[in-house]
């Protein structure tokens, strides 16, 4: 079993008929067919209920979709202005795993969403994230399937393509992944590093973990404390943004050194102090994973 999602996950797509939603729905179906894993069970687009897209039924509301398909997971490809509503709808319908790909949701809105998540118990990955991939089991998001092979290394990352780079480097070196989780690059998101590290620590099929961080915030420092105090499995890390200037937002809303907080140096020191091996660049990660801990 992988963490968060596996072949028993019943997934729907919110925004299935949109440009992005449709593109990635096809990718997810193709991945499922190729790996003999179950494909998604339905989609939601208001006003398009009753149609069929790529062989799956479309519903007007998440509630209807859930009632008809028994869905327990949802992936959101809805534009930023409507994404908060989509998140509340998924929570309200009782979806237990929500993955939000959408970029550009205001910080305040996500703070409000978090309060409702806390009351409901639903788990959110993202927003502004690539989703997750349990190779050969489940692909919920936009991670390229070709970059990954099944294995025993868990990956948790704040980044998108940088994560693919790491997966790809591992895969080329024959090191597979249990689950790859992109928690997203926004300052306020759902699951954090420590939540996912905890799951990897408890997952019998994960033996080692790769953590991919970025400048900004304190997530990496908190993760380092967690690893030091609560983890038995070895962790390798990489932190992007060593050469990024202070006070400029580096693409991601969350990748921003403000008032001297969230620097590369602080993060790398914290990780190293927790006995985590920190790579100089992504392509160095496979060799750190196979060397003796």
């Amino acid at each position: 079993m992988a963490i968060l999602a596996d072949r028993h996950t019943r997934l729907i797509v919110q925004g299935i008929t949109g440009r992005e939603g449709l593109f990635h729905t096809r990718q997810m179906i193709a991945y499922g067919l190729e790996h003999n894993a179950p494909i998604l069970v339905g989609g939601v687009t208001p006003g398009r209920g009753g149609e069929w897209v790529e062989g799956v039924p479309v519903f007007d509301t998440v509630r209807e979709a859930r009632e008809a398909t028994g869905a327990d997971a949802s992936i959101i490809y809805v534009p930023a202005r409507y994404a908060t509503d989509a998140l509340y709808e998924a929570v309200d319908a009782g979806i237990s795993l929500i993955v939000c790909i959408t970029e550009g949701i205001p910080i305040r809105d996500m703070m409000r969403v978090r309060q409702r998540l806390a009351l409901s118990g639903a788990r959110l990955i993202g927003p502004n994230c690539p989703g997750l991939l349990s190779p050969g089991e489940a692909k919920i998001g936009i991670m390229p399937g070709l970059a990954a092979i099944p294995g025993n290394v868990g990956i948790v990352s704040r980044s998108g393509t940088l994560t693919y780079e790491v997966m790809y480097a591992m895969t080329r070196n024959g090191i597979g992944q249990s689950t790859c989780v992109g928690i997203g690059g926004d300052p306020v998101c759902g699951l954090g590093f420590t939540d996912v590290l905890q799951m990897f620590e408890e997952d019998p099929l994960t033996d080692k973990v790769v953590l991919i961080g970025e400048i900004g915030g304190e997530e990496e420092e908190l993760a380092a404390s967690f690893v030091r105090d609560h983890m038995t499995k070895p962790v390798v890390a990489f932190v992007a943004g060593k050469t990024a200037p202070e006070g400029r937002r580096m693409g991601h809303a969350g990748a921003l050194i403000e008032g001297g907080m969230g620097t590369h140096k602080s993060k790398v020191e914290a990780l190293a102090n927790a006995n985590i091996r920190v790579a100089d660049h992504p392509e160095q990660i496979p060799e750190l994973l196979v060397s003796n801990f």
């Binding site: 202005r81 809105d109 690539p130 980044s159 690059g185 050469t243 991601h252 660049h281």
Partner: protein, 390 residues
């Protein structure tokens, strides 16, 4: 998005936070008129979106309207930290008894806004950080009265100032929430000789993601405060930040773009080319079209520092053939022969690589791994070809 001091103060005033009655000038003559109306003894402050104006001659106390004119003449057009001064504000000289600090900011760790107060503001703030009192705010309900009392109590504010402080704290909190701020700061919040609390300087940062619902703030955005190349990139829908180095970078994804910058520095150091580094951060985003790629390459090549370009694409939504088409459209027409090293992986990467091979442009080449691509870019920028280094 950051507001200028004068814009922040206009917003403060609208929420009932006391500010000094000054004016904004875009010419020395305007500065003279405002200073004259204020009685001559004034402060002239440059409006630039950077800290440390004081140290760079951006704040002047003057004693006559004529001096104000001269100061403005000196400041307007001058640059601080690479940013040109287009406006100055003229304010009466304040009779300050004490400098306090008050701000509302998003606390990323708590994932909540936090209001902070200190009895020592101004430039002294960071010297006594343990004296800052913090209260986390409910993102639905905002600031509670009891929290203001806890702040006032915590900074030992004299009882007779509580009412004014409470009004200002609530106003600042409302200003923060209603304008989707990530920072709303009064520093210093000055206690004046007459017993009034006044916002002497202010900073406001607005969440870029929320600008769609803040049309008035969006309009106030000072585009002139950006570098011209950044403006061009933004207009093409690209995330571009100009840096000091000589190797242009074009990458899809912010984390990978930063990583590419980092690897350039890492490889350069290994090769002993310490002067080499990234000339920019450029994130194409997801699913960039050929015309966006072309616009990005044009922006990179328009930077005279650039001696080589590293293109690193890990295609998920982004298609390698689309990237290649965009690159070639610019590289073919360009008179410059600046080396462009491309590494394409993922969706349609092979089609893209074939397009580049077929074009047979001598200065455009392919690499397999990120390290290899970076090594060649560093060597090219350092004046060597890859072959030379072997």
């Amino acid at each position: 998005m950051n507001l200028h001091e004068y814009q922040a103060k206009q917003l403060f005033a609208r929420y009932g936070i006391p500010v000094l009655n000054g004016g904004v000038a875009t010419s020395p003559q305007e500065a003279y008129s405002i200073a004259k109306e204020l009685g001559g003894k004034v402060v002239v402050k440059a409006q630039v979106l950077t800290s440390g104006r004081g140290r760079s001659g951006g704040i002047r106390l003057v004693h006559s309207a004529e001096e104000a004119r001269l100061s403005a003449e000196h400041m307007l057009g001058m640059s601080i930290a690479g940013l040109v001064i287009h406006k100055v504000i003229i304010e009466p000289i304040a009779d300050i008894t004490q400098e306090l600090y008050l701000s509302v900011v998003n606390d990323r760790s708590a994932r909540l806004p936090v209001i902070m107060a200190s009895a020592t503001g101004g430039t002294l703030l960071h010297k006594v950080p343990e004296k800052v009192i913090r209260e986390h705010l409910d993102p639905d309900l905002g600031l509670h009265d009891f929290q203001v009392r806890q702040l006032a109590n915590g900074i030992h504010l004299p009882r007779h100032l509580w009412a004014a402080f409470t009004r200002i704290a609530h106003a600042l909190s409302r200003c923060f929430f209603e304008n989707d701020c990530t920072l709303a700061e009064i520093n210093p919040l000055a206690l004046m000789g007459d017993g009034q609390l006044v916002a002497l300087d202010g900073s406001i940062t607005v969440d870029d993601n929320a600008l769609f619902r803040q049309p008035e703030l969006f309009e106030r955005r000072d585009w002139l405060a950006e570098h011209p190349l950044e403006i061009r990139a933004r207009e093409a829908g690209l995330s571009y930040i100009r840096l000091d180095g000589d190797i242009g970078c074009m990458v899809n994804g912010a984390g990978l773009a930063m990583t590419s910058m980092d690897i350039i520095k890492h490889v350069a150091a290994r090769f002993g080319f310490e002067h080499c580094g990234a000339a920019n951060f450029l994130d194409l985003g997801g699913g960039a079209r050929a015309d966006q790629v072309a616009a990005g390459l044009r922006v990179i090549l328009a930077d005279p520092k650039v001696k080589a370009v590293l293109v690193n694409i890990f295609g998920g939504i982004t298609r390698g053939d689309e990237v290649a088409r965009g690159l070639l459209s610019v590289a073919m027409l360009s008179n410059q022969q600046i080396p462009i090293i491309c590494r394409l992986v993922g969706t349609n990467a092979e089609a893209g690589r074939n397009l580049i091979l077929d074009a047979k442009l001598p200065h455009v080449s392919l690499a397999t791994t990120l390290i290899e691509a970076t090594e060649r870019a560093v060597l090219a920028a350092g004046g060597l070809t890859h072959g030379d280094s072997r």
